[in-house]
Symmetry: C2
Subunit: 596 residues, 2 copies
């Protein structure tokens, strides 16, 4: 028998004939509920409240673990653990919904050197007559003075009619020796689309390929998040069936298309005027957007299907663009070193001088490159999503209501900055980093991150664990011992990567000329606090350079210039990949790295 599910406060409804998991139901209704663990009942993020239901929903073990007895009594449950089988009315708390996160799409704007892959020429031909019988295509090639020009059948099929309808004039767009588009009129300025497909967010940049200028930029949450917040969860989801893998591909392509569409509308242009694209991402994202198989990325030794630069037609990927538009997918280096890392290093101009430079792109996986002594060596480290708020009791992304900065004065008094200047509902990465760094600085936790009992700074949180409170009231935000442990594990992984690179190339901290930090979290964190908790080796603050979404900047540079692509490909070949887990004494480096 069919039944109705109603979602409040959004007022969305869904009819179902079959029993339905509440997380799936919400997604079907169009609500993006957070599920960091991919619906396994372990992250506790997908909280809902059952307002009305004919069935009893006995709390599961997972419910009991994540939800206080009072709230359980009030009908709160984990959506992923709840099966709906009759008319139900559910309340979805704002904290369970993926909100519009702060979307950093800026990155450092480089002067983009322009040499696009495409050319546009308006030509006017002599009408064919009995003494000049060459074919229409030959006539076009002659006018362009390019006898070696080629064109696919769909182009060749269009030329005759355009010529005869348009007084033997035609506007021709070429890429290399290939005609990719013909139409009657010139396009005012061909558009390019650079995309950085991050695990969390997709950053899109619409470029005027006549000037190299970014017309507009827009970020959108990566909709894959609905199937697992971290890469491994999504790879696991994709492994379950070909359908699942296809779903992740479809979601990604749709998100890019929707974003491109909305950006084009914003600047009064059309997606059909996008003639060239450059897509970068970590290796999993790269494989997802190209619909390459990801099974071997999910298990050791994490082998990519392909690492080479690829040039697929946009239409083969289902991307909204001019029919003949091409996509440039720069090379990836290894299972966990993607084309976003390459784009970052290229944007940061690695390989262009002989300075000793450290490049760090902090994320769930943090990629680190050290340039020194004529070499560039890269590692990837599973720093985990703690800096993105996951696995932290009150952790959340950098969205309204998140504590983004924390200051603890010598007397232990706490001041917080909340995004959107509203009541705090959680804490995001930069806030967590601040809090831990300040706790350590004020001597309230020890080297191993333990609360010093004698300081009496903790109160019990709703779960009954001692925690340090950052705000008061009913929705008080606090950090528990377990939260601090998570942060130290995350920063320990990053520090171990840095230390191993420095050991491998025999570089001392004092020799480092520059530390380049990219990524969303990297832009909001305070470098002194990152050094304070030992995430970074100690270097003068002036040597630390925050460059925002460098991968997006690199993608734009490669989009606008075919020589930049070749340079970046040379850079990719020159990068040496170091597998951290095989490095001697890796465990020791990690243990050392964890210390605050």
């Amino acid at each position: 028998m069919a039944f109705t599910i109603e979602f409040q406060p959004l007022g969305l409804r869904l009819r179902s004939e079959n029993n339905l998991n509440a997380l799936d139901a919400a997604r079907q209704a169009g609500i993006d509920i957070m599920a960091v663990c991919g619906g396994e009942g372990t992250c506790g993020k997908c909280l809902i409240q059952i307002l009305k239901s004919k069935s009893t929903h006995k709390p599961t073990i997972a419910d009991q673990k994540h939800i206080s007895p009072d709230r359980l009594k009030a009908g709160f449950r984990l959506a992923c653990m709840t099966t709906l089988d009759s008319d139900s009315k559910l309340y979805v708390p704002a904290t369970s919904i993926l909100e519009n996160q702060i979307m950093q799409t800026e990155g450092e704007e480089h002067n983009i050197d322009l040499h696009p892959a495409i050319n546009q020429t308006q030509i006017s031909l002599e009408k064919a007559h009995l003494k000049d019988l060459v074919s229409d295509f030959t006539r076009v090639k002659k006018a362009l003075d390019k006898p070696g020009l080629k064109a696919d059948l769909d182009i060749l099929r269009k030329i005759p009619q355009i010529l005869r309808k348009n007084a033997w004039c035609v506007n021709v767009i070429t890429r290399g020796d290939q005609i990719i588009h013909t139409q009657e009129e010139k396009i005012s300025a061909p558009l390019g689309l650079a995309v950085d497909v991050g695990s969390t967010k997709i950053a899109c940049y619409l470029i005027d390929l006549n000037t190299g200028k970014t017309l507009t930029a827009k970020g959108t949450p990566n909709p894959q998040i609905a199937y697992g917040e971290d890469i491994m969860a999504r790879l696991a989801f994709a492994m379950q069936s070909d359908n699942n893998a296809q779903t992740l591909n479809d979601l990604t392509i749709s998100a890019i298309n929707d974003t491109a569409e909305s950006m084009c509308r914003r600047v009064n242009r059309f997606v059909e005027e996008i003639v060239d694209l450059c897509l970068v991402g970590n290796t999993a994202m790269h494989h997802f957007f190209l619909n390459l198989p990801t099974a071997s990325l999910a298990v050791s030794p994490f082998i990519p299907a392909v690492t080479d630069p690829l040039y697929p037609p946009a239409k083969d990927l289902g991307l909204a663009a001019m029919p003949g538009a091409g996509v440039y997918a720069p090379p990836v280096k290894a299972g966990f070193i993607g084309s976003d890392h390459l784009a970052f290093l290229y944007a940061a101009q690695f390989c262009k001088d002989d300075r000793t430079r450290l490049g760090i792109d902090i994320g769930t996986n943090t990629e680190i490159a050290l340039q020194a002594k004529g070499k560039i060596v890269s590692v990837s480290t599973a720093s985990g999503p703690a800096f993105e708020g996951a696995h932290i009791a009150y952790g959340m992304r950098a969205a309204p209501g998140a504590i983004e900065h924390v200051c603890i004065d010598p007397n232990g008094q706490t001041e917080i900055d909340v995004i959107g200047s509203q009541e705090a509902i959680g804490i995001c990465g930069s806030g967590i980093l601040d809090a831990v760094a300040q706790l350590r600085q004020r001597g309230l936790i020890n080297k191993r991150g333990r609360f010093l009992k004698e300081k009496e700074i903790t109160k019990n949180d709703p779960q009954g664990n001692p925690a340090f409170f950052l705000s008061d009231g009913e929705n008080a935000v606090s950090l528990s011992q377990q939260d601090i442990d998570q942060i130290l594990l995350a920063k320990g992984a990053i520090r171990a990567g840095i230390d191993i690179l420095m050991d491998y190339l025999a570089v001392e901290p004092a020799e480092i000329d520059e530390v380049v930090i990219a990524g969303a979290f990297g832009s909001y964190m305070l470098p002194e606090h990152a050094m304070g908790i030992g995430m970074l080796p100690t270097v003068p603050l002036s040597r630390i350079k925050i460059i925002g979404n460098a991968a997006g900047a690199g993608a734009r540079m490669m989009l606008a210039n075919i020589y930049a692509r070749k340079e970046a490909e040379r850079l990719a070949r020159s990068i040496e990949y170091l597998e951290l887990t095989l490095y001697p004494d890796f465990a020791l480096y990690y243990a050392n790295g964890i210390r605050a």
Copy 2:
């Protein structure tokens, strides 16, 4: 109200809700009725007899023109002029149905020099492990020792699974620097398909690309015939709507696919094992099978969309083959000089010596090439379908019941050979040529083809016109004055082309070392009779070489050898196209050519 149409003697039935043209109805019922004029009421070939109908079918002017009063009274009508609007029973005479014509697919078998475009290699790889982290694709390239190898996404998507399912072994098929297919096991012998798409028939050859041998060959009527027997009628049909053009393309591709399918079955193979194809045809056929626009081929100055050699993927053309299979479409030269002409000249080894050679491929359009003095010049002449039986009262294709040879002894006694040794129902090209040549030889017609009244050799035919009877009885086959005129016009066009070429290159008949004659009609005609009526200049019979379907032979040579393709392309560039209608005194040459 729905009504039923019944076709006899085939016993096929059709239900229709709407008024229906009888020609369209027959086609919908699956009966290929002849319609040389494309359903315009001018050719008179689509004769049907209305056995039962609630409506009166008043004879149209076209009916009256083509059908004798007796037959009109008996219910005979032109199908294309008949509208059906109620239960009807129709009789379709055998002479109105396109029968299985003699399909000449042999051609001269050349020793095929083998250098196919594709290569097959079975490789066995080392399993990936933590100290050998290269991508699957890089691993394949290394094993093949081809670092520059490329592959489309659909191939890259398959490799990882094949490797892991098949103990790291994979069978790779490459074309140039491109992987076009991967699978677990080797293919016993990759197949190639050579196709000569003629206006009347499609000749297909299935080739073993390991040996170059033709495994089997099959001809099938070109189903475009249903929309007009000659090229101009089909071009006119295509011009009426994009849908019509698409229909002609669909029909051609389906016919090739069906034939390929049946040939593969015959030799226990699969169409998916066809890895490479070569398709030739006259320029209209070439444009139809590539789905290129044909509007400008239908009107002066007859400009092709493209003349270059093309290499479209088979799947883009809808051709049944291995998913990565490619098609080679050799260059065409002009609106009426197609790639079949090139294939003919290449098979006949034009350009390989400095002999003076004339090459003639007789058809509705007859292409003629003269090689002399270091040049090759080609012309095309609209010889019309008379030699294929069209525009001739009892004309028909070389099918059972057709008179194929005629002998008139000095006393005016006639002997005939009928295909299938049955009662004569009509006369095909070679029979017509014989008859006219013999009438002229025996002095029964004059130079202008007029019956000599004093010889009293004619009787009135059913239309009341004086005609020369070739058989007796109810279905007596005869040739009228008008028929002979048609033949002389056709041969006149061919002779004018030859004479202009000889004038252009200043060649005398005695200087011609060889006359190479290709095409179905050319294989059955007697060269002495062709000279007898002045279709060919007089040369010693030993210098005339009949080579059958040379276009098919050329297509096979190009299919099996990539250097043959380059050679043929050089040949195409070296051919000079001469536009006959612009040649000084063209009309005079034509008038002279017509004389018997």
